[in-house]
């Protein structure tokens, strides 16, 4: 049995390599807000209140481009609706927590933390304090997100754009799913999602980010049915 502290540090270590993409993305996110002419306090507030990289950038870009607040808010909701899927997966492991703890832990559920902690949960289902892994990964991502967006706000985009560090974002997620390429059913689901995302890329409110997973999950259900 692992102690809470050990689980927390395993959570920390599991997301630490992802800082290679989180930090440059945070800097870009902060710097873009300032470049678009928003109040620094407002740009930073997004990192605390929304705490979701892509949706923060889209929100500011839409508002600065003259879109209505309704459209900006809807886009944030649509982009972040994928968390509903993360929550549905994680709920199995967080069932026994008190309601208050569930409310608190929900705030730190983000892509990389969900992905890495979920991998750990699948392999260690019987550990009693599993959620400390999610706290470790989530708190780490939260702290680095706050620091890197702040750095972008204060220092501007000091990372040269020529480096193309935005490319680190797809790479981070390749690292997360690459081992599942061993399983044919997962490959089918991934390709379905990827092709759908390109097909629906121009759908309103950035909805490709939730349309493609829904299509891919339908295909997953079909694959499961065929396997029986």
């Amino acid at each position: 049995m692992l102690t809470k502290k050990q689980l927390f540090s395993k959570g920390f270590l599991s997301v630490a390599p992802h800082m290679l993409s989180v930090i440059p993305f945070g800097i870009i996110c902060g710097a873009i807000g300032i470049e678009l002419g928003f109040d620094p306090i407002l740009v930073y507030a997004l990192s605390i209140i929304i705490f979701g990289g892509a949706s923060q950038i889209v929100f500011l870009q839409l508002l600065s481009g003259g879109a209505s607040a309704l459209i900006a808010v809807t886009s944030v909701g649509v982009i972040n609706s994928r968390h509903l899927l993360y929550g549905a997966v994680l709920s199995e492991y967080l069932e026994k927590l008190s309601f208050i703890k569930k409310l608190l832990i929900s705030y730190i559920v983000v892509d990389q933390g969900f992905a890495e902690s979920n991998k750990f949960f699948i392999k260690n289902k019987t550990e009693p304090h599993l959620h400390y892994h999610l706290i470790g990964s989530g708190v780490t991502l939260w702290i680095f997100w706050q620091l890197s967006t702040l750095a972008g706000i204060v220092l501007g985009s000091f990372v040269p754009e020529e480096l193309g560090l935005k490319f680190a974002i797809p790479l981070t997620f390749i690292a997360i799913v690459v081992q599942d390429l061993k399983k044919l059913d997962h490959v089918i689901v991934m390709i379905t999602c990827g092709l759908s995302s390109l097909l629906f890329f121009n759908a309103p409110f950035k909805s490709y980010i939730i349309i493609s997973p829904i299509i891919a999950l339908f295909v997953a259900a079909l694959v499961l049915r065929l396997k029986k």
Binding site: H18, F59, L90, N118, A175, L198
Partner: protein, 103 residues
């Protein structure tokens, strides 16, 4: 007005995180749904990966000889065999840089 929008966007985002964890009883989900949920990472992350590689900053498709495609292939191969997140990201970035800066 902007602050109000931020607050509402934040509340909605928080609800997307919290609803399934705190409000929905997991027993309501059938066995079939739970089996499908095992595919969530594979069903969600390619929607971030594919546009991140194949669509440029202006929202149009890249050329088939774009260095990002090469970088992604290197990252997939290195990641698959090394099982290391750091190696995956660094190999993808460096192979991408080699093409845009050295070739």
């Amino acid at each position: 007005m902007t602050w109000l929008s931020i607050t509402i966007a934040g509340i909605i985002t928080y609800f997307t995180r919290m609803t399934m964890i705190a409000l929905v009883d997991r027993d309501l989900l059938g066995e079939k749904v739970k089996a499908v949920l095992a595919f969530v990472p594979s069903a969600v992350f390619p929607a971030i990966i594919f546009p991140g590689i194949f669509i440029n900053d202006y929202g149009t498709f890249i050329e088939m000889n774009d260095p990002k495609i090469f970088g992604a292939i290197v990252a997939i191969l290195v990641g698959y065999f090394s099982r290391s997140v750091i190696a995956t990201i660094l190999s993808g970035l460096t192979s991408y840089w080699v093409i845009i800066f050295l070739l």
